[in-house]
Symmetry: C3
Subunit: 323 residues, 3 copies
């Protein structure tokens, strides 16, 4: 891969909507370079030594948090786990005060997950540290979007012209949103598949096609990304029964027979086995689910590295302008 | 600042009541030296490499614990989070056994927070490791006291002759106690301000003045330290209503008009905005609240460094005496 | 001690039942070598730098987890705390998916504690990383068994011919099982002591004697290991009253008068003081309980080191066979 040289100047990663194709590709190229670190006998680079990364998670997460922690460790950063209990009445206030306190302690990068969409953006406007969005409400989960396109690009070389379906609860999925931005910017055609009740409002404003039948589209797909049914995010049940949902939108061995031989099967994890996907498919030859996890580490190393570079860039600029 | 050379021999930091003016100044001078580490590109000194610091917190805390963890990381120590659930019937026993177990694992410094006053002292008598009090009952919170005087001294050069009010729930405040010792030893005059129900018993034995009216004293003050109302520590409500409390003892924009132009506004955090202090004051030009947080890191680095030095001193002495 | 040279090839530590006398002695000899690291001024060896150890604890634990964390830190490994909430319906599935995810993130060693016996074995069959059992159901707790024999060997030079009683709730004790394997393989005679209701099923298949009276056997013992009464593991009360249990099976000052002068008193901790043991005995001259804790660290360093060596050995073998 020829890594295009661009001058990286972003000190935050809030969402992929804000990034150009070139910028997304630059992150992926950087991640490619970091993949090697994880294959070393001593899996460490001194890149972020003496820097402090804070995991500021207002929602439970094991996988994403561990992935960021491992990525930070691999770059020799120190990691602080910061779990703040939030009262429902004063969320904004608490977040702002927490942010200012973190900044005062001299931390360098905040990795934030928050149930309120926009919290990472809000944070980035109010503190001097780098902010990396690890998922905000139903908005974005940009490192997931990045690791998804990284995984596809690694196997298919390019996303140009690929047909990719994102299947399931699009309305509540920040993964879907980040995927849509990343995939379409890299040249893929995205089809959202699910029952009408799980489609987002104003779906027509997104650069995607919509289908209400998985069977109608599965034969044309190069990649299928099965979203997790997130019971905890839904209020009233948006579909009559889980069984009916699985019947129409589950990725079964049977349904896979209609797919292209080299279709890539993806899932952001953790899988509800037998629900959105049968175990035979999750563990089958087309599944790249575990490779997504592996690639997530390289992508997050790249993101932590780049936002820190962006911060150094801006500091330098401010110093020059201040002269 | 001319750092006076004294031979530091304390391996514990239990309370500021036990320390002389020279010793407190020596800690502040040492903290001043460590401030520079946090401004480096690589925020690390190898000072405590291979040492193990245990955060032994029997009460919830995010800020103080993170501050100690960051301070220990910055000095290259390893940090263990040790959270022990305490049954109400066997507190002393559990603490003693925990202490002995920690010692047997070869840890070097215990940072302890405990709801029972005296727990850090008890611990220090029963184990060989260094003990740092991170708050015990309503007794002391010495690193808070230190960072408060550090912050004042940094701006005003000296505390000699300054008039400082500590406002609010003095009775339940370990911060107030540590502040009183540190501030008066460094030459300041301390006035406790609050309703009579929130004054400590035997207040006349403390080297302080008492006022029941903030309006009476605010005009004379160089520094005002607004304590947090800790609803969780109070049993029955000690004042008729929060609104009434705020009316008489809250630091409002209006009340600030009577204060000296260069008064320093302090708060140990987290702030109940609108209650003990209006947001405009907390974020205003006189506020040094975030500087307190920053200075807390330098002070805690100094404390960890010094107690370790004290331990080495005593080991050496014991070896010499043992010969 | 002459360390016998064997070629260590195990990348997992599941249970001591699987290990030969030579292998157990090799672990103890290796631990002896690591003991020195903990006495250094800088308590660090670079042995596992860049390796990632995951603490995968499905049951609460403070002491064992901290001991593993300290051991890993001392060998310069990074440690990830991975706490997965397990739904009762899909335990196996969750563990398998968790395991595969961990593997995909490139971690090197999993230290697992699980309420289901066999979970570590299951894990070791399904992932490529090293697996160390930190306690599974009522099966084994091998590092406890190792540190127990390490402690005895260090004081008595050899276990050959020693009479050792394990007293208490044998049926629910994974410590007892690991002790039995380790002690008898090293040549000791083990007597299980407790009420019939707390003896394991098929006790006659174990290489031990059984006694229902502590008073009958105490005079002959070289070592006595008092198990903790684990109320949380028992369903209905297996003995009429705690008081009655203590009367017959507690290690009291009175009962100690019948013991040999140089009997070693052991306990895996934490002690229910006054229940299985009186405080005077726990803190008395025959007690080696805190030395067990200290030795646990050296033993766990040895185990982490050796399973990593085993993994490197197998990788090399596979590469050679693959040529």
């Amino acid at each position: 891969m020829n890594k295009k040289q661009i001058i990286w100047k972003h000190k935050h990663l809030i969402g992929l909507r804000d990034f150009s194709r070139e910028e997304i590709e630059y992150i992926l190229d950087t991640a490619h370079g970091f993949e090697e670190v994880s294959t070393r006998n001593i899996k460490k680079a001194p890149t972020l030594r003496g820097k402090v990364v804070v995991n500021l998670f207002f929602e439970d997460s094991t996988r994403t948090r561990n992935s960021f922690t491992l990525a930070a460790n691999r770059l020799s950063a120190d990691v602080i786990e910061f779990t703040e209990k939030v009262s429902s009445t004063s969320k904004g206030e608490t977040l702002l005060d927490t942010a200012r306190n973190l900044e005062a302690m001299g931390i360098d990068i905040v990795v934030i997950r928050h149930s309120a969409g926009g919290a990472p953006k809000f944070l980035s406007r109010n503190i001097n540290a780098c902010v990396v969005n690890a998922g905000d409400g139903c908005c974005e989960h940009p490192t997931q979007g990045l690791l998804d396109v990284y995984t596809i690009r690694k196997i298919k070389d390019s996303l140009e012209g690929l047909k990719i379906a994102i299947v399931g609860d699009i309305a509540h999925s920040r993964v879907a949103r980040s995927d849509i931005y990343a995939m379409t910017k890299l040249g893929a055609e995205v089809i959202l598949v699910g029952p009408p009740t799980l489609m987002p409002a104003k779906v027509e404003q997104l650069p995607v096609k919509v289908s209400y039948s998985l069977d109608d589209v599965i034969g044309q797909l190069d990649v299928i990304n099965m979203l997790r049914i997130q019971f905890e995010r839904m209020g009233v049940n948006p579909f009559p029964s889980v069984k009916e949902y699985s019947h129409y939108f589950g990725l079964t061995v049977d349904r896979m027979k209609k797919a292209k031989k080299d279709i890539l099967v993806m899932h952001p994890g953790p899988i509800n086995r037998g629900l959105e996907m049968e175990s035979e498919v999750a563990d089958g030859p087309n599944s790249v689910i575990l490779r997504q996890v592996t690639n997530g580490l390289a992508v997050r190393m790249a993101v932590l590295f780049l936002v820190n570079q962006g911060a150094m860039m801006q500091d330098k600029k401010e110093r020059l302008e201040g002269q």
